[in-house]
């Protein structure tokens, strides 16, 4: 079953075409990696999927229902959760309360008591249990990223959108986070993740979608993508350039 279908989605801001005609289907249980150079439109695509923006054209279908133009809270109720590239902790609330918001107002809409129980489980899962009573504003970046993850998970979503959860983390934190992502998938949650840390995303994704200047330039397994000339060009410039330079040198 397709959990998410993105059909011909375009988004422009005034004259800037941030996304043009993006189309893909996401089967349940997969991890889809979303890569592309800075400014390629990856976060914009997330914003269109979870209702921050209404697409200029095209449709978004979530679990068989057309959800194009729905508000972010509708998407949360329908079972979609996300993290933010620039973390958005609720600074003056405790870590526990932050996660309880996710459980209280997300898909399952629990009461406070049950929400606390879920928050405890989720905090334990992401390794923040001992910081539960601390204010969220006092966490460091790595912990804030895990808090974003915990808040999203507390709603028990069907689909999780992860926006650069590895950025700014040190190698051991990256390993920890990748492990968390794998274990989330084992619970049957479908994931789309935006990432710049290539070895991590190539490792963890079932499929990869590449955006460049709002265009979908490639889609396929990690192996296919790593050998796709268009992708190499987008990241490194002209792939023939190296060859020509070598030839010219002789």
């Amino acid at each position: 079953m397709m959990i998410l279908q993105v059909q011909g989605v375009s988004k422009n801001f005034g004259g800037l075409q941030a996304l043009s005609n993006v189309t893909f289907d996401l089967p349940e249980g997969q991890i889809l990696g979303l890569i592309g150079p800075n400014g390629a439109g990856k976060t914009t695509l997330f914003n269109v999927i979870n209702g921050v923006y209404t697409p200029s054209e095209g449709r978004v279908i979530f679990r068989g229902k057309d959800v194009t133009g729905q508000k972010t809270y509708h998407m949360a109720h329908a079972g979609m959760a996300r993290t933010h590239q620039i973390v958005k902790p609720l600074n003056d609330l405790t870590v526990m309360e932050n996660v309880m918001v996710g459980a209280c107002f997300g898909r399952e809409s629990h009461n406070l008591k049950k929400a606390r129980q879920i928050a405890e489980e989720v905090l334990d899962f992401v390794g923040l249990a001992e910081r539960a009573e601390q204010l969220a504003g006092s966490l460091n970046v790595g912990q804030k990223k895990r808090l974003e993850m915990a808040r999203a998970l507390a709603s028990h979503p069907y689909l999780l959108l992860l926006d650069e959860v590895l950025a700014g983390l040190n190698p051991s934190e990256i390993a920890h986070m990748v492990d968390i992502v794998r274990r989330i998938r084992e619970q049957g949650i479908t994931i789309i993740m935006i990432e710049h840390v290539m070895h991590a995303i190539m490792n963890v994704s079932d499929r990869i979608l590449v955006l460049d200047y709002g265009q979908q330039i490639a889609e396929g397994s990690p192996e296919e993508i790593s050998q796709n000339p268009k992708v190499i060009e987008a990241y490194l410039g002209d792939p023939k350039l190296a060859e020509r330079l070598m030839e010219g040198g002789e």
């Binding site: 979870n50 921050v52 508000k71 972010t72 809270y73 949360a76 109720h77 959760a81 996300r82 933010h84 958005k88 902790p89 609720l90 600074n91 003056d92 609330l93 309360e97 309880m100 918001v101 996710g102 209280c104 107002f105 997300g106 898909r107 809409s109 009461n111 406070l112 929400a115 808040r151 709603s155």
Partner: protein, 323 residues
Amino acid sequence: MKTLKNHLGLITSLVIVILIAIAPIVSGNAASREVVFTILRAIVLASSLNILLGYTGYVSFGHIVFFGFGGYVGFYLITAQGQSLWVAMLAGGVVSGLLAYLLGKAILRLRGAYFALATIGVNEAVRAFINNFEPFGGPTGMTMNFSVYQEYGGAMKALEMSFYIMLVLALLVVVLSYVVRTSKFGLGLLAIREDEDAAEVMGVVAPDAKTWAFVLSAIFPGMVGALFFFKNGSVEPLDAFPLHTSIEMIVMVMLGGQGTVLGPILGAAGYQRMRGLLVTSPIFKNIQLAVSGGLLLLIVLFVPAGVIGWARQRWPKLRRVLQ
């Protein structure tokens, strides 16, 4: 016992309100009762405003509009329609809540400074409307026939009764404030205060939550307005919609600690005491509002969390008691 312990914050707050009110109850001194009456009124107004300002993070500069509007409607019902004080208070609360609901739908889409500006506009607009609304007496307002008090055992009795009703309202508003603070609805409001976009992404239906917070923050001021002008015996636009009282309400909330239950109570009591001293002092009586402004500036600069917020940070162990 266990449930009592879980609600220590509520008990502390209620006990403090009662302690504030106890002196005139015991002594029966009418002058001290009048002083405490204004303090209790300030507690109701500040605690109500706190639901919007402290919990939801929206600054309303025109919150006194609900006091004035509820007061006018209640006064009209008593004098022109011969209704009882009870009906008047109920109606005052209902119409203020309704006004907040309609306003909320219109202006709560605005954020930050724009919302604050809009609330000033609303207060001025309602005052201008009442100024020109003949059934409410236009610019001269309305006065109450003394005989109305006969129903309540004479003017003296009516004054005394007003005090006790105000005390009950103050206790009720503290309960409301606490229930909101500790409920799931309140958690949603706090999330909106911290980051409205993030809250919505997590599923908080911010437009609805904000509107209901606004309504809850308007009901008690409306009831207090009806009671206040019943006791006052007359109502006129300048008394009903004083913009500076709106700002004093903000100072009270900020002084005690926005977003806490106890903060606005202490802030209201402390501010009213200070105000009482200032207006009776020959040096400060004409510039007491300037002192409030200066005080607000100092709070925002040095103790933005207010007295209770500061104490909660300083002594985390006290958090259960100081909510």
